[in-house]
């Protein structure tokens, strides 16, 4: 029987079979950030252990660092400086490459890792951050771990991993007007629930995936973890290879040719069998907006808030009831038109140059509605510079958006900046959990263009009507 791509990558990185489906896997790259990587480095130091192959380990400042102009080591979050200075000192002591505040390579870990060519097709990569699965979009086996596993990967260049089951999710057909990669992944999680991928590694396939530009593929893989999957990945193709070409850490010359030859073999065999298969027709997808407190609580812009009495089972019913109370929404209420207090565009899900270009097209001379706080945070300093070179910053600022320095920013509330108590935010991020973006904040996840359209309307809006 043929092998899945996941199986091929697994086999290519197997150092030892540990029995009972556990494997000692070789880790090609480790990436760290100042919130959880700092603990890994400190733990390693306390145990008297060293980072093995520090030249293959990278670190950035994204989670704690402020995104306001003129930022430094001081943060709005009390004690944030401790994370920043501890990380810097530990990274320097360990001899790993740090993209520090002020470095024009700084940015959100998963944006930077791809942008710099640190992640390549076929690599294994871990980071103590759940959205490491984003990088699966390059055909890498990349997943999030805890800080203790981070120490393990740093000290040994390996991880002992229980092999996940395999799942193939095929998106076919053509995306409709105003429908984006974000809507594809929200559709999957909405249809199959936030635990639908538990225990599985996913290969995303199908004509609609192959048609996606590379930057949009990151958006799809980013939310594999919101589907409870071990990770998600996309087999590398010409789009992938073109994206990687010429990036700072990508191979060059003859090594590049050898690498490309190898990357082209990274496909599932035709007769590979998966533990689970899902098939989605993109014609069924309209712009998505979440109405609840789990990414599984996904509705669509022309739909209504669901009625818990019509939930498929008792678990869903109690989860929906709790979510509607938290979100202050009523069953049967149209999702379109719900007034918002704020709009946020950023995060490892949707903050890349192509996202910002689409946002500017939507804004197109419109202005942010009165009373709406609208913020755009580029995913990396490179994205910020490129956007500014195109005048994207000016267009957004003129329209009434705040334009920030790069970082995770208000994707989550860490005790510093946040949205106000019980404020309603439409957000291009990946998590609508209770209190995620601020105290009792009500988050609606959507595509960056839907967020922009809503910021202009002052309420949750259908981007298709504006464009």
């Amino acid at each position: 029987m043929g092998r899945t791509l996941i199986q091929k990558l697994w086999d290519a990185h197997t150092v030892a079979d540990l029995g009972d489906d556990a494997t000692l896997l070789y880790m090609d790259r480790v990436f760290l950030h100042e919130r959880t990587g700092s603990v890994s480095l400190k733990g390693l130091e306390a145990a008297g252990r060293k980072v093995r192959n520090p030249e293959q380990v990278f670190c950035t400042m994204d989670h704690i660092v402020d995104t306001l102009p003129g930022r430094g080591d001081e943060t709005i979050m009390p004690s944030g400086k401790d994370f920043i200075t501890t990380t810097r000192d530990a990274a320097n002591a360990a001899g790993i490459t740090l993209f520090d505040i002020g470095d024009d390579r700084q940015g959100i870990v998963h944006v930077v890792s791809a942008e710099q060519g640190i992640t390549l097709p076929g690599l294994t990569q871990v980071c103590p951050d759940s959205h490491t699965c984003t990088l699966g979009a390059l055909g890498a086996l990349a997943w999030g771990i805890g800080s203790t596993e981070g120490e393990h990967a740093l000290a040994t260049k390996t991880l002992a991993v229980n092999k996940p089951k395999s799942m193939r999710v095929s998106f076919d057909g053509t995306l409709g007007f105003g429908v984006t990669a974000k809507d594809m992944i929200l559709h999957l999680i909405g249809e199959y629930t936030a635990s639908g991928g538990v225990g599985h590694a996913i290969e995303f396939a199908g004509s609609a995936i192959r048609a996606l530009p590379q930057e949009n593929r990151f958006t799809v893989c980013n939310m594999a973890v919101e589907f409870a999957a071990f990770t998600g990945l996309i087999p590398p193709d010409d789009t992938t290879i073109e994206y990687v070409h010429g990036r700072p850490y990508a191979p060059t010359g003859k090594t590049w040719d050898t690498a490309v030859e190898y990357w082209k073999t990274l496909q599932a065999d035709d007769d590979a069998a998966y533990d689970k298969n899902i098939s989605i027709d993109c014609a069924d997808i309209v712009p998505k907006v979440t109405w609840g407190t789990s990414p599984g609580h996904t509705g669509q812009i022309d739909g209504v808030v669901p009625d818990p009495s019509e939930a498929p089972d008792a678990n869903a019913r109690s989860s929906w009831e709790r979510a509607l109370e938290y979100m202050d929404l009523k069953p049967g209420q149209p999702i379109e038109g719900v007034p918002i207090d704020a709009a946020f565009i950023g995060s490892c899900t949707n903050s890349r140059l192509s996202d910002l270009r689409e946002v500017v097209k939507v804004v197109d001379g419109h202005r942010v509605a009165d009373g709406v706080k609208a913020i755009v945070v580029p995913g990396s300093s490179q994205v910020k510079l490129a956007a500014e070179a195109e005048g994207i910053d000016k267009a957004l600022i003129e329209a009434g958006f705040e334009w920030r320095e790069s970082g995770c920013s208000m994707c989550f509330y860490a005790g510093g900046e946040s949205f106000g108590d019980q404020e309603r935010v439409i957000s291009s991020t990946n998590r609508n959990f209770e209190n995620r973006q601020g105290p009792r904040t009500r988050t609606h996840l959507a595509s960056p263009t839907s967020v922009a359209a809503s910021a202009i309307a002052g309420k949750i809006a259908d981007v298709r009507k504006l464009r």
């Binding site: 805890g146 538990v198 973890v225 509330y413 005790g415």
Partner: protein, 210 residues
């Protein structure tokens, strides 16, 4: 050097039911409660948004299960599917551990959370939802004598009615918990294999080696 963690063999305790599905690690430990570069001092922030009516003043919510006897001393949590989903923050596990939780029983877990539990001496037990719900129904009577007995060596949970339920756990995870072994120390015993892999791989995939 081989570090050790607390060993897990058997445990007898009342179980505290928090039966929602999809309880995320943001709920277990909100970002704002992760105040320093440390694994300690996190239990005060555990479930902060649910456990306190005023988070800043630390005013306890009398209705939250872990604020009520006998559950305040529970070493076992019961929950719905996908417990510990979301953020990879190991702080969620460090907070639970510091509070005194030694075992979580749920129909399924967030993958990263599950791994973090095992590496910190907390046993994650996967049981059928109907069983977890039955345990929860008994626990909700609030009697100190309604204890669950966890036997990791034999991979069994004994319920309050002496009902016995087997559970699965990967051999390596079990060994780590039962022996309290440090996984880095274990892996470094295979150092020859790691170095041999690297030498061979360098020839096959030279572009990987920066």
């Amino acid at each position: 050097m081989t570090l050790t963690m607390q060993k897990f063999t058997t445990l007898s305790s009342v179980a505290a039911p928090i039966m929602q599905v999809n309880i995320d690690t943001d709920a277990i430990i909100p970002s704002r409660e992760m105040k320093g570069v440390t694994k300690d001092g996190l239990s005060v922030g555990m479930f902060a948004n649910w456990r306190y009516t005023d988070v800043d003043a630390r005013v306890e919510n009398p209705d939250f299960i872990l604020n009520k006897p006998p559950f305040r001393d529970a070493e076992i949590l019961l929950s719905g599917e996908n417990f510990g989903c979301g953020s990879s923050r190991e702080h969620a596990v460090w907070a639970l551990k510091e509070w005194g939780i030694r075992c979580v029983i749920a129909p399924s877990f967030g993958t990263i959370f599950y791994g973090n539990c095992v590496r910190n001496g907390i046993l994650p037990v996967v049981l059928a939802e109907v069983t977890v719900k039955a345990f929860a129904a008994v626990a909700e009577r609030g009697r100190e004598t309604d204890t669950l007995i966890i036997d990791l060596v034999n991979q069994e949970v004994t319920g309050p009615d002496q009902d016995v339920h087997a559970f699965d756990i990967a051999a390596a995870d079990k060994e780590m918990l039962v022996e309290g072994l440090d996984p880095i120390g274990l892996t470094l015993k295979q150092d020859d294999a790691i170095l041999a892999f690297r030498e061979k791989d360098k020839a096959t995939r030279p572009w990987v080696y920066l």
